[in-house]
Symmetry: C4
Subunit: 202 residues, 4 copies
């Protein structure tokens, strides 16, 4: 089985999950709001949450692309690992809304914890599908570069650890956890696109 349809399906889930995020912002402004301008300023956490999760999904999409560019066949196990991974990507809009609505209230801890668990599981399943494909070069292209493959493995292994740390911190101090979730995305983008120009293989 070739990889085309998996990419189409995955890109569909990525695109829909990212685009559905706007419904979270939308739900914050009911029609009969009297002071619209004030309300639009007041819901600024929704915009931040929208942007952070949109970029986080974007980063995951870029990384998924990197994985797919190294392999040239799939099997059932690999497909189901992908479905599990995409299930967590599609889940992301829900905890994003929880954070946007509750970060300034008593539900902050529960909201950030839900967000963190989703990201940790997503990162774990992403590592699982990559390791399944790459250990023993099981699904890799015949002409893959072992050095590049090792680089990817090392780089992805950081994901679950980083997100777990941010999640644990968010239990103690939710707002710090949220800032870390945003910082992880921001750092990744800067690292891979600005500083990392010379070694764009991870």
């Amino acid at each position: 089985m070739n990889t085309n349809r998996l990419e189409t399906f995955a890109d569909g889930v990525f695109a829909i999950a990212a685009t559905l995020l706007i419904l979270n912002v939308d739900a914050q402004v009911s029609e009969d709001i009297p002071y619209l301008g004030r309300r639009l300023l007041d819901i600024w956490p929704s915009y931040v949450a929208y942007a952070v999760t949109f970029f986080t999904i974007g980063i995951v999409w870029v990384n998924h692309h990197t994985v797919m560019s190294q392999i040239d066949r799939t099997d059932r196990m690999f497909l189901f690992l992908n479905i599990g991974f995409l299930m967590l990507v599609a889940f992301a809009p829900f905890p994003t809304r929880l954070i946007a609505e509750h970060i300034r209230g008593e539900g902050a801890r529960a909201a950030t914890l839900t967000y963190g668990i989703t990201l940790v599981l997503m990162a774990l399943l992403f590592n699982a599908l990559w390791l399944y494909a790459s250990v023993g070069a099981q699904l890799l292209r015949a002409d893959h570069d072992p050095k590049v493959v090792r680089g990817i493995t090392r780089s992805y292994a950081l994901g679950p650890v980083t997100y777990l740390a941010a999640t644990l911190i968010s239990i103690v101090k939710p707002i710090v956890g949220v800032i870390l979730f945003a910082a992880i995305a921001g750092f990744y983008i800067l690292e891979s696109s600005v500083f990392g120009r010379t070694k764009q293989r991870e």
Copy 2:
């Protein structure tokens, strides 16, 4: 007419139907919930329903791919059978929400029955489109392997029967029916990806 655009359209419906499932979870938590953490634990059936239907749609997507890999042309009848089949796939988020919300209440029977009927019809239409394509090798690739084709036919024929059995049981005992719906998905994944490695053609 070639099969590319059918695959794009079908993959779109699969991806959207799966991703829309999160709206069901989302609707369970209104903004003004006082004890967010407790509520998030309380709605655990929503998470289970989300996962089971996401994987069920994923399985159906994998099987649809298997069908498409055996054929290399389509006709109007085949397209309309596919549309009918996709109509049932796109319907799945609705009974999923019914189960998530009503499995612990008086509506459990009605909810599981609706879910079961949807799956039985989906499996029937999937068999219909496969039989239409494969009987007389009408739409099959010239180089198809008759043994593989017979294997697919046998394997898919189990779908409606299995789901009908689970549906009938869910009339008597809804919770058992739900466990069976989950078990069917779980068993299929294990069977085809773990145990079935050596015969990955069904």
Copy 3:
């Protein structure tokens, strides 16, 4: 400019518009419904409306595919005609819900009229994009068959007329109009897939 990305975008809109239809059904059943089973039976017009519009979008998708198979280039005007056409396809879920909810009440006339106008405009724009592409063979493949092209032109010209007739009837007798909308879709499917096997070029 080639036609690939137009097909991807169009198939996306078709798939999303069709899949969003389930939200109409979903909105009919609120969580705190006391007699779920009775409610699920009571909303049967929602299921019928869902199926009719899903198949209508499916038919339009098949026909759009037929158009695209005859042409091999696009220009700006053709793209914008397509966007206008897709705008009406994406509009369809709204009047579908109106019919499902109001066909048994005082709003039946307004609902069916809105549905009819949407379909008439959709059929008109579909003819516009086809005529723009085919008159003078402007965007057609070099190897197109003039006889096939004329057959398509004749067959599509019936669309706006048929839907206009059903719309006018729905002003006088809404329920008859709705039955006609369903019958048009059903007849088209039967005609092109069952009876029309021998002349599958329209």
Copy 4:
């Protein structure tokens, strides 16, 4: 990294953002409306807003296609600029609804301002991704025509300026701003498809 998957992901976001616009119209008509016909006429701004934003997204999609047709490779920075740009495209349904609901009330200024800022940022990011790709011919096809590239650069540079002007006007006179947003889309379509036939390269 080639450009295929970026196009698939981008087309997904374009298609979903455009198709989700109908939910804005849908939310304006609750089920228990007594005079459905009157209500359907009364919400005409929703139809206008739907059409204007649908076509605006369509125009942006066409222009994104033009960009992609000039380049044949991507890098991380280009991908993240695209994700930022798509984040703003996916945001558009929200201010569209604000305008539809508030243009006749006190919230008109806040609504049009939000819409305008979204479009200005979208146009800025679109210029950013184009300049990133084209300055120094960094990501351009080897056989690109420098004259065409300069034409695109000039034409896109007008976007942010035009939208900024309309946004500033909408602060003083919201309704005029909205008319300008619609006029910009309309003029662009006429210019590029009717008048601009002879120079269809911008």
